[in-house]
Amino acid sequence: MRKLALNDEILLKIEKPARYIGGEVNSVMKDKEQVDIRFAMCFPDVYEIGMSHLGIQILYDMFNRRDDVWCERVYSPWTDLDKVMREEKIPLFALESQDPVREFDFLGITIQYEMCYTNILQVLDLSGIPLDAEERTWEDPIVIGGGPCTYNPEPLAEFFDLFYIGEGETVYDRLFDVYKEVRARGGSRQEFLEAAAEIEGIYVPSFYETTYHEDGTIRSFDPVNPHAKPVVHKQVVMEMQDTTYPEKPVVPFIKVTQDRVVMEIMRGCIRGCRFCQAGMLYRPTRERDVEVLKDYAYKMLRNTGHEEISLSSLSSSDYSELKELVMFLIEEFKDKGINISLPSLRIDAFSLDVMGKVQDIRKSSLTFAPEAGSQRMRNVINKGLTEEMILDGAGQAFEGGWNKVKLYFMLGLPTETEEDMRAIPELADKIARRYYEIPKDQRNGKCQVTTSTSFFIPKPFTPFQWAKMYTNEEYIGKAAVVKRGFQDQLNRKSLKYHWHDAEVTVLEGVMARGDRKVGRVIREAYRLGCLYDSWSDLFDNDKWMQAFENTGIDIGFYNLRERSLDEVFPWDFIDIGVTKSFLKREWERAMKGEVTPNCRMQCSGCGVAKWKGGVCVEGKN
């Protein structure tokens, strides 16, 4: 039997001990003496969140297929255990072997959102790994980061040895082989980093230096090691059938956020919404083969015993075999008590028909994400959804028996006026009016239209990367305009309004487009006790503000400037395939309120067609 890293007394005292004991069905055990590389794969948040992430499951499976690698999992200890580990000096451990993370060859950290940055420092700190990459020796694992936030890795540069830019399927094998080769010949850590820097897609932050203009913007960013390249190219899998997929995902003992089989049907999105980072990063759109997916569905349900299956993609309605796949799932599994969950579907006749089959109409709600209230604003963000489409979709849904609608919008978008803000409650009211057009005896009581707004945060590699943000007070003012607008509506009793926190928005903005100087704030915030910043009940804005003050970093510099078109961005050295000139073109079109067609309607020359795959070659061979 495995010996647990935590003793019984601790495990029986803390919340949900199952977070820390491993041993779940389908978790992978190996003999550590029989492998060359031990990889600790970390999601820097609590177990239930981390276990729900598909990317880690894919890599866990892929790494463990190699006989010479044993990949294990690590998550952030919750605050109760965090305290105990510090008091009793218990080092952070991996779930499978329960061995200290510091003994591993690699610590891989997936960086999915900006507000996990202090948790990354917690993981390093509890592991006993120096926070500064420069201070690490062979006694420490190689700390490598991946995931969407690595498209601007600069705020985290000092904490990581390597960043993997792009999809994990392409060069990890080469990285492992290089590692084994360097270790076998007794090479130094520096030698390994230099060899790794030669691999396409691997970024070694310590091999670069930034100089700044007097106004704080970047003057230059250059390699200072001959092995490092001036440009790091994003890794992308062009043939989806060549990738592996976890047919036996780990089945947690406790209920996690995604307590279901998740099938990735497609990568990328054809839509080109100008605020959306994922829509640019994961271009071109690539679909998985529908027959292969059917086979995965069988195997994954059988191997996990989950009672639900869900499809994952940025926009499932654009998957060309969606109908075929969904009908198959319903026919095969509905009678076996398997729930079929269909997120991110556009509301149309087909999706309403399907949803009517897989969910209880009376209980479920329909979701629309117009993102902006006015047509002018929707054109600016290139959200190809018209008011007519929304009202039509809602009307069909209401006639089909639904009476609950959720609406998602963003506030603080570029060029936004008060009129655009007021258009949000107006649109919500029009939807409610559409409901009450149905004769009373045919409707299902009152309708409920729930509107949520979040504040827009410009992200790197989007057409809005030049945009300015606002202050905390300005954001609250915007939400107040919307709230007042709701009070003026005819059907206000059927309308509900929620808005997201503004303080976190401001911080996320700094992290998203920050440079290397921002690392100091993260370190200081962590020192002051910030942790689990994405958990609203644990988030402590005062401490963050203190950290900015203590380090002399100015939030306004990062958030309140509209950047000039010739400014050098911290992330400019990364090539995601989509060119900066395309993004500029899109930014300019946005300012003119011009819509750009989606990839299937017309190629707009974003740059990724050079890879000759996915949607770029659809119907051309």
């Binding site: 019984d8 199952a18 008590g337």
Partner: protein, 239 residues
Amino acid sequence: MKARIKFRKYGIMRFIGHLDVMRYFQKAMRRADIPIAFTGGYSPHMIMSFAQPLGIGITSDGEYLDIELTESISSEAAVGRLNQVMAEGIDVVSFVQISEDKKESGMTIVAAADYEVTLLLSAKSMEETVPVPEEWKEKLAAFLEKTELKVLKKTKRSEKEVNIRPMIQEMELTEAGIRMFLSAGSEENLKPDLVMETFLKDMGLPAEKYPFHIHRRDIYAKTPQGGYLPLEDLGTLVP
């Protein structure tokens, strides 16, 4: 057809709570392809009920769940298939057919449970046990001599004083520790940790100085004759 599954819970699984064990078995049924029956309605769920929840930290050799099947399956096949998909820490011991009568379901017929409590060197590990002090033998006799053992019993909603003595059917010192045969089920239910706390208090000993581990040995139903039978003995093997 209705069936009763007996399983053991040990090792790391003792940290998995009752609700999660239920979820665990729902998924295990699917992995093992057991032809389990579902309720009707929009969100059908498996027809499955557990005899008696087991607290976190407690190990057991005799846990039970009853299920309803849509078709017959042999005991051997069911045990084999389930054990192939178990995580370490849960073993399926037996699978027997039981009466279709609702009044005979595991939950309703539970009458008693058998426990073994071992004293530990430290609360840090259940592996290192210490022998029960010699003098406890006499003290236990005196403890059981009493006709009333009033204890403040806390439930989720209220606190009330109950006499636990009648619910202690048997209690004795063994080589391993202390064996207790306690009333269990929906009518009268006594937890072994409460007995231990009361016993220690009765001896005037501080509870924190005597960490212990609880192991459930089996769960029993009362026979019409007044005796006790382990729940699995009320079923028959399916050939």
